[in-house]
Every structure is written in C-alpha cells, then in structure tokens.
C-alpha cells in the first residue's frame, strides 16, 4: 500500500514528479556521457603513449641507458620471429638509437633512426629553428663513437611529411651520410619495442618473453611508466568538477521540488500523523516516491546515455588541430563505455537524490501534527 500510495502521489503531482524525473535524467546522462568521453580519451591517449613508448621494451642486459655506445641486439630477425610466435598480433619495432647529440645553440635533440624506414629524422622544431629547407646544407656537431667531436656538413635531400606525426614536416638526411659522419652502424638494433592490442597483458607477456630470452632485459610499460595512471587521474579532475556542478544543480532542484510537494501535502501528511503514523513512516512515504522516480530516471537516463554515446562513438570528436601539438592526443576522440563507471554514476545519483530529499522529508515529519493540520487548502 505504501508503494501504491507513492505511485499515485507521483501521478497526482505529475508536474513536480516530471521536474525531478527530467532533472535526474539530464544528470545521469551528463554524468555517464562525460564519463564515456573521458574514458575514451584515456584509453586512446594511453594507447598512443604506450605505442610510442613501447608496451614491452627489449634491450641487452647490462646496458647503461646513459652510455651512448651500447651493444645492440644482433639477431633481430630471429628475436622478432620468436616474439610473434608468442604474441601473434605483436608489432615488433626495432630501434636504432643514434649515439649522437645534435647541438644547436641551447637546442639539442637525439637523432632517432627508425630501422625499417632507413631514414634519419630531425624534428620539425629543429628544421624551423635552422630555417632550413630541401637543398640547403646544414652543419651537424656530434660526439662520435670514440668520444670526440665531429663536425659534418650535410645536404638536405628532401623535406618529407613524417608518417608517424601527421601534419608535421621533418627534414630528412640520407642515412648513408649519417653513417658516414657518425661512424655508426645503422644496422644494429639497440632496442626493440613490442606493441600489441591488449596492453593490459604486458606484465604476463613480459614474463613469458623473459623466459625465452635470458640475455635480454624485458620490461613492461607499467614498470617504466609508473606515473602514467596518476597522469590520467589529473585529467579526471576536470570531469569531477563538471560532475560536481551537475550534482549541485540537481540537488537544488530535487530539494526544492520535494519541499514544495510535501508543503502542498501538509494537511494529508498531518492527518496521517494524527491518526497514528510515526515520523519514520512519513519519511518513508516521501522517500519511496523519490526512490521510484529516481529508479525510472536512472533507467531512462542510462538508455539515453547509451544512445548518445553510441552516436558519439560513430562520429567522434575531431581534434586534429590540437593533436598536432602533441603526439599523445588522439586526432579523433571516440568515447568508450565503462559499465562499472556507469553503475557507479547510477548508484551515486540514487544516493544523492535520497540525501537531498531527506531534508524536506524530515522537515515535514518533524512538524507538529497540529501545525500541519491547521493548513487550509
């Protein structure tokens, strides 16, 4: 009967119930959709970061990362074959770290050679700084293998758009010229990055590879990038702030609506008190209504969130212009649904709606019945 009464009251004060209903739907949609956007952002930029850092990094054991003349991994092809036999979707990327630091005023950069491309890349920034273009000749100062300083004159053959960083333009110097002036074996693989689809498995896969290659150092990303999670937690703060504002608005609307609904029913509630209801029963009666409305709001809201998120997942947010500035922002952002977070949103909103209805409920329940009854409507 409590339930029946609550439902009929919801329909009797339909407009007010609808206000709460719609307000809660908007809140749950706002929370869940913003959650999905931040979740998508996190997942995508995390993958981008991990791809460029290597989900698993392989080096020779005993190498000092600060030693420019490291010993390489000799049998790369064999290593690659064996990695792929364990991780079929692995992308095995050999890296040839140049033992050179290019110096220009205060600006320095590691020349990095991606083995498969057989081209030397210098960053766009450097190119801009040098005001150099294809056909120009630039002078590169570097330390050589023997520890001395070499000075080399290099002619820029062409300016290419780098495939990895879309939109960026890099200067390309033929690899043989690099070899010549750096006295450096470009065929030697110094590091291997292994990327694959499920980055969560990096830990267990690393252990597997460690057993296969006893003379190689195999580190998963989570050992090297310990702070990655906290980095993403910072990006969450913005979302929490947004949620907080949404919830604040919701709380005001809910409290106001419930308050005016109980005030309108003062006489009824006073009568129920007079004929022997406890305060708790009155609170129960009012909260039951709120719980029912909240329940349906959450159902409908989650449904709308799903539709909206699915739509956004097809369209995506286009961030090309921003993404150009840093390699870790995905050019097109696709939201991702994390069911756990959605459930947390629902539970939180439930609790929130009840919390803000408690005050009006308690207020009317504590009102002396004579006072509630005197109300003439």
């Amino acid at each position: 009967m409590l339930f029946k009464t609550a439902i009929r009251n919801i329909f009797k004060y339909l407009r007010r119930s609808l206000v709460i209903f719609i307000c809660l739907i908007v809140s749950i949609v706002a929370l869940q959709v913003s959650d999905s956007i931040s979740e998508g952002f996190k997942r995508q930029s995390k993958i981008l970061m991990l791809e460029s850092a290597g989900m698993i990094l392989i080096e020779r054991k005993g190498n000092d990362p600060f030693d420019l003349i490291q010993e390489g991994i000799k049998n790369f092809d064999e290593v690659e074959r064996r990695i792929k036999s364990v991780i079929p979707d692995a992308r095995v990327i050999p890296e040839i770290v140049a033992p050179a630091i290019v110096v220009n005023d205060t600006f320095s950069v590691n020349t990095l050679v991606i083995g498969t491309r057989r081209e030397s890349l210098i960053s766009t920034k450097l190119a801009k700084k040098l005001k150099a273009d294809a056909g120009d000749t630039i002078v590169i100062l570097s330390t050589n293998r023997a520890g001395g300083l070499s000075i080399k004159e290099v002619k820029i053959e062409s300016v290419l758009t780098n495939g990895l960083f879309t939109g960026g333009v890099d200067l390309c110097i033929p690899i043989d010229k690099m070899e010549e002036f750096l006295l450096w074996d470009t065929g030697e693989v110094k590091q291997i990055r292994v990327n694959f689809n499920q980055y969560e498995k990096a830990d267990s896969l690393s252990k597997l590879l460690s057993g296969m290659f006893p003379d190689l150092n195999i580190t998963p990303w989570n050992e090297r990038l310990k702070n990655l999670e906290s980095l993403f937690r910072i990006s969450d703060i913005k979302m929490y702030l947004f949620s907080f504002i949404v919830l604040l608005l919701t709380s005001g609307i809910i409290m106001n609506s419930v308050l005016s609904s109980v005030m309108e029913r003062k006489k009824d509630l006073g009568t129920i008190r007079a004929i022997g209801s406890s305060r708790r029963f009155i609170i129960f009666l009012i909260l039951t209504e709120v719980v029912i409305i909240t329940f349906f709001s959450c159902l409908a809201g989650t449904f709308f969130s799903y539709i909206i998120t699915r739509k956004l997942m097809q369209v995506g947010f286009h961030y090309e212009s921003v993404a150009e500035m840093t390699q870790y922002i995905p050019p097109v952002l696709y939201p991702a649904i994390n069911p756990l977070r959605w459930i947390v949103d629902v539970i939180f909103l439930f609790v929130w709606a009840i919390i803000w209805s408690i005050y009006p409920a308690v207020l009317i329940a504590r009102m002396p019945p004579v006072k509630a009854l005197r109300e003439e409507i």
Partner: protein
C-alpha cells in the same frame, strides 16, 4: 476515567503578545460518553480537542489518559497512544485524496501493522456500518460531503479506538446531512460503546448530545448532562 484535565492552560505566542486559548480547564471524559463541546468561535474548542487528542501539549496543568500523566509525553509515545486508542474526525474530512474509500479506512490499520486480509475485512465492515458498503472503491473526490465524512467515521472506528475526537465534523455539511452524521455517531456510541467528544456551533446538533460542555473564552462555562435517557 478515560481522559482527565486538571487546570489545563494553553497559550499561543502571537508576535510579541500571548494568546490564552485555554485558561484553566478541569474536565473528565468517561468511557461511553457522548459529549459535545459547544462555544462561540475562538472559544478554544479546537485547542481543547487537540490537547485531548495528544496532538498538542498543555502550557500548564495536567492531562491524564487512562490515569497516565501525558502532559509532557514524547512524540513517540503520543503517536503510539493516538494510533492504538484515539480516532479522529476532522471538519474538512481529511481523507487522503489518492486513496480509495476502503484504502483510507485501511490506513490506520496499516499503521497498526494489521495484516492485509484482516485489514481489508475490518475496513469493509466499518464502511458497511456507515452505510457505504457499495462505495468501497470510490476516491474522495467521487463522494459527496456527507459520504466523505462517513468514510472518515469509518476510518476512525475501524481501529476500534477507546475514544473518537471530532472537531466540528458537521461544519462543512448542510444541516440535514450534518444531523445524520451525528446520529450515525450516536448509533456507534450506543451499539459499539465508542466514546465520542465532538465540537459544534449548531444548536440542533448540540441537542443530540448526552453531555454538553459549554466553552467560553477558554474556560468551561457550563457542563451539563442533558438527555441521559438516550
């Protein structure tokens, strides 16, 4: 003795002044009484009934319910006594608009934690007793004023209280209907032995009562037994 008032006073603060609504009333209500509280508007009838119904506390004096001092009773205990021993009938009927007649009558039984089947049976009986056995599923707004007050009487008697307090139960009814409501109450009093205390302005209704307490300016003007035979 069901209810006993000893030197009861009730003041209401009103702005900077104080309204002395009840200025010292000594009164006893025994089981089986059928008492009317008469008096002009503002004489304190509502206030007195609220005190007897444990809806309010006296400012001074003592109020006893079955010999127990309830002048300073807690809300919890007052609720319990109201629920189990007192029935109320209101001037404006005060039925719960979203509930049907039978659900309105069931409500106090629900508060007493009576089980569904028994509750329904009792409510049906109570409605039949007030002559509304055929309107169980009508909502209050589908009933006439007289019928609404009958539902209210059924609601009050269904819980088998020791006393029913009714503040101007006929004021919102035409005088014929009002009279029939009072006659119904009297019938309940005679047949089921329910104690009634009610207030009214209406001279015709005052006549029907067995005992008449006249309230004047918050004091008992007269207290007479007028037709002991009925």
């Amino acid at each position: 003795m069901l209810i006993e008032l000893k030197g009861v006073k009730k003041d209401y603060p009103l702005g900077r002044t104080v309204v002395h609504a009840i200025r010292g009333v000594d009164l006893e209500i025994s089981e089986g009484d059928f008492t009317v509280i008469a008096g002009p508007s503002g004489s304190g009838k509502t206030t007195l009934l609220n005190l007897m119904g444990l809806l309010d506390h006296p400012t001074e004096g003592k109020l006893f319910f079955e010999g127990r001092d309830v002048s300073r009773i807690s809300d919890r205990d007052a609720t319990f006594i109201r629920r189990s021993r007192i029935g109320f009938i209101f001037q404006t009927f005060n039925l719960i608009p979203v509930l049907t007649a039978i659900e309105n009558v069931e409500l106090p039984l629900l508060l007493k934690r009576m089980k569904g089947k028994e509750r329904r049976k009792r409510a049906e009986e109570a409605l039949a007793a007030v002559g509304l056995g055929d309107k169980l599923y009508h909502k209050p707004d589908e009933l006439s004023g007289g019928e609404r007050q009958r539902v209210a009487i059924a609601r009050a008697i269904a819980g088998m209280p020791d006393i029913i307090l009714a503040d101007e139960p006929t004021a919102n009814l035409d005088s014929e209907t009002g009279l029939s409501i009072i006659k119904l109450m009297k019938e309940m009093n005679r047949e089921q032995g329910v104690t009634f205390v009610f207030s009214t302005h209406d001279a015709r209704i005052i006549e029907v009562a067995r005992r008449k307490i006249e309230l004047l300016d918050g004091k008992v003007g007269s207290d007479v037994v007028q037709n002991s035979n009925s």
